[in-house]
């Protein structure tokens, strides 16, 4: 957990409800009337990946470095865009299909900044923050997810 530039990083090991999180975060961190635009992204665990049924996932991270990297990424975004606040919540540990893995939210006076920063945060997180996913398939075998895809390319 860290705070700088009006931003918050949370790495949590229990399931969370992104909409309840956003609601309570806005109440405690934002000033009504100042915000014109809120862009959010939620990444959720699917029960399939690369053609296989996935029954669970273990999300490993590098305690200390993960927090520092997320803080760095959030600070960079707040330097590049005019944001009132930014929130990153990321699960670690055992995750089941349907459970949210990551929440990113950006608040700004203007929608371009909110959209651009939110997307940038997600891509930066996926390429630079030390998290690793290990999937448990339906036959109880395990496999590491080997790499993240580029989220700016078309995915029809």
């Amino acid at each position: 957990m860290g705070t700088q530039h009006n931003g918050t990083i949370k790495i949590i090991s229990e399931p969370f409800d992104p909409w309840a999180e956003l609601s309570s975060y806005e109440t405690s961190h934002l000033t009504a009337g100042q915000i014109g635009a809120t862009a959010t992204f939620v990444g959720t665990m699917r029960d399939f990946n690369e053609g296989d049924d996935v029954s669970a996932m273990e999300l490993e991270h590098y305690p200390g470095m993960t927090d520092a990297q997320l803080q760095l990424i959030a600070d960079e975004a707040q330097t590049q865009w005019s944001l009132d606040n930014a929130l990153i919540v990321h699960r670690v540990g055992r995750i089941l299909p349907g459970e949210p893995i990551v929440l990113v939210a950006c608040w700004s006076a203007h929608r371009a900044a909110a959209f651009d920063a939110c997307r940038h945060l997600m891509e930066a997180l996926k390429s630079r923050a030390p998290f690793w996913k290990k999937e448990t398939l339906k036959d109880q075998s395990h496999r590491w997810v080997e790499k993240n895809t580029d989220g700016y390319s078309a995915s029809q």
């Binding site: 470095m65 893995i101 080997e146 993240n148």
Partner: protein, 77 residues
């Protein structure tokens, strides 16, 4: 020279090593740290290294007390 080494995810399984303190006089770079813990095992092409929790390459010079980590490409989010 004393170095704390950490390995994560598939790298931890590849080396069967989660965390170890190593010491010795011949350790000058991240590559030297790798050789100490991995012996003959080659470093996989896509391996990422960090020194004191910041990314670094294999040639990066380490100093006494550093924390050096090895891990595969990240897959969070």
């Amino acid at each position: 020279m004393s170095i704390k080494v950490k390995c994560f995810a598939s790298m931890r399984e590849y080396l069967d090593l989660s965390e170890r303190d190593i010491a010795g006089d011949g350790i000058n770079s991240v590559a030297d740290v790798w050789q100490q813990i991995a012996g003959d095992k080659p470093m996989p092409d896509n391996t990422l290294c960090a020194v004191n929790q910041s990314q670094a390459d294999a040639a990066y010079a380490v100093t006494d007390g550093d924390e050096v980590a090895f891990f595969p490409p990240v897959t969070g989010g």
